[in-house]
């Protein structure tokens, strides 16, 4: 069991151990979908929701089914299957019951299955031996942290439309460099919480 208090896990997963800026997870959608603040906010919300639910589900499946049966080996394949099935289910559910929400979030849902942040959070949860409450807090914090990072980046990219970036650096290059500066900024929080 991990002795860290729940509050520290929550805050650390937003700031100091930001899943994107410190663990490099969810970079693909971060690079592609950070062009406008609305898209970033939609994707961030969807990621947070899916993260909380899948860490909870995966925690229960791992500790109630896989561990008693001695099948921890299958964790990877089960986790990804749970994530894919859950995302599919939410997509169908939202489409059926809330079309407006579907148009706001629905387009992002298929993207999320292959977002490494989702699978990464489940794997971290197992590696760091979190208990149930800690896992949920970690999932929620990681989602919020990811959302904060992509929102900042989207804001910066909108501003950057007016600046004269060297031709070869446009696109991914400059986003990488800015992410580096962001990661440095977030490291400034390191003294606040020790994990």
């Amino acid at each position: 069991m991990n002795p860290t208090p729940v509050v520290s896990i929550f805050i650390a997963s937003i700031l100091t151990n930001n899943i994107l800026l410190a663990s490099f997870l969810g970079m693909c959608s971060f690079l592609v979908c950070s062009n406008s603040i609305e898209t970033a906010a939609g994707l961030g919300t969807a990621v947070t929701f899916v993260l909380v639910c899948t860490t909870t589900l995966n925690y229960l499946i791992y500790h109630l089914i896989l561990v008693p049966l001695g099948l921890e080996v299958l964790a990877f394949i089960i986790f990804i299957a749970v994530i894919a099935a859950f995302v599919q289910f939410v997509e169908m559910f939202v489409e059926r019951f809330s079309p407006s929400l579907y148009y706001a979030l629905g387009i992002f849902l298929p993207l999320i299955t292959v977002n490494c942040a989702i699978l990464g959070a489940s794997l971290f949860m197992v590696l760091r031996e979190y208990n149930f409450i800690q896992s949920v807090a970690f999932g929620f914090g990681a989602g919020l942290g990811w959302t904060v990072a992509i929102l900042i980046m989207a804001g910066l990219r909108q501003r950057m439309g007016y600046s004269n970036v060297p031709e070869p650096l446009r696109g991914t290059g400059i986003v990488m460099l800015i992410t580096g500066v962001l990661a440095m900024t977030f490291m400034g929080f390191a003294g606040m919480i020790n994990m």
Binding site: F24, M27, C28, V73, L74, I77, I80, N115, R170, M176
Partner: protein
């Protein structure tokens, strides 16, 4: 992601043109369509393990193993697989090989397995593996798919190693654990071992690649 479809040449491979095609597939994967520089896929697992050259090479090896074999199996099954469930079937095949590799590391190189942490498992969501299965292995013969897998993972490993060389050299003055820059006069720049260093190195690397090979259509957005 559909850039490979231009040389989808059916399943019956004539041996006369086969060698030339192999070479072309190989070159495409390693250099022309290099997975990271051009497609910017699979970048997340790429950066986290580049703090040491050794880790980066093991990750490259992992990708070589997974990508080659998953491409082979997907290609073998491409006629039997119903189109609707192909995605989940691909994920299951990829995950199986990732589990193999993870168990291998845990059994024989436990320290390395500890260092790589969750990033071996994250090969499953690595866009390159899935992308090659979708874009290449579903249309091409098993042999060609294996060549494509090998080429793409070598290209991936080269970029990974490049980033790792810069980070390990600047960050701790060593290469593969051997002291290269003497501690007597070299002050380590620890920033490069930490996360921001990875972003900076990758950013400058992309900049350099784009400067050498200007892309005709530049991406939208600054």
């Amino acid at each position: 992601m559909s850039q490979a479809s231009d040389h989808s040449h059916g399943s019956g491979d004539e041996c006369s043109s086969c060698r030339g095609l192999c070479k072309e597939t190989m070159k495409d994967g390693i250099y022309k369509n290099n997975p990271i520089t051009c497609q910017v896929l699979g970048i997340c697992s790429c950066l986290a393990v580049t703090n040491r050259l050794e880790n980066a090479l093991v990750m490259g090896g992992a990708l070589l193993f997974v990508l080659t074999l998953s491409n082979l199996i997907v290609s073998l099954l491409r006629k039997q697989m119903p189109h609707r469930i192909r995605m989940i079937a691909e994920v299951a095949i990829i995950a199986t090989f990732v589990i193999f590799f993870d168990l291998f590391l845990k059994a024989f190189y436990f320290d390395m397995s500890k260092q790589l942490g969750p990033y071996v498992g994250l090969i499953i969501t690595n866009c390159i593996v899935m992308g090659r299965a979708e874009a290449f292995a579903l249309q091409n013969s098993p042999l060609m798919s294996m060549v494509d897998g090998i080429a793409n993972s070598i290209g991936f490993a080269i970029v990974l190693a490049l980033v790792a060389v810069v980070r390990e050299l600047v960050g701790s003055g060593t290469l593969l654990g051997v002291q290269v820059l003497s501690e007597a006069w070299y002050v380590k720049n620890v920033l490069f071992v930490l996360a921001p260093g990875a972003f900076f190195t990758a950013g400058f690397l992309i900049w350099a690649f784009n400067a050498i090979h200007p892309r005709p259509q530049s991406e939208t957005g600054a």
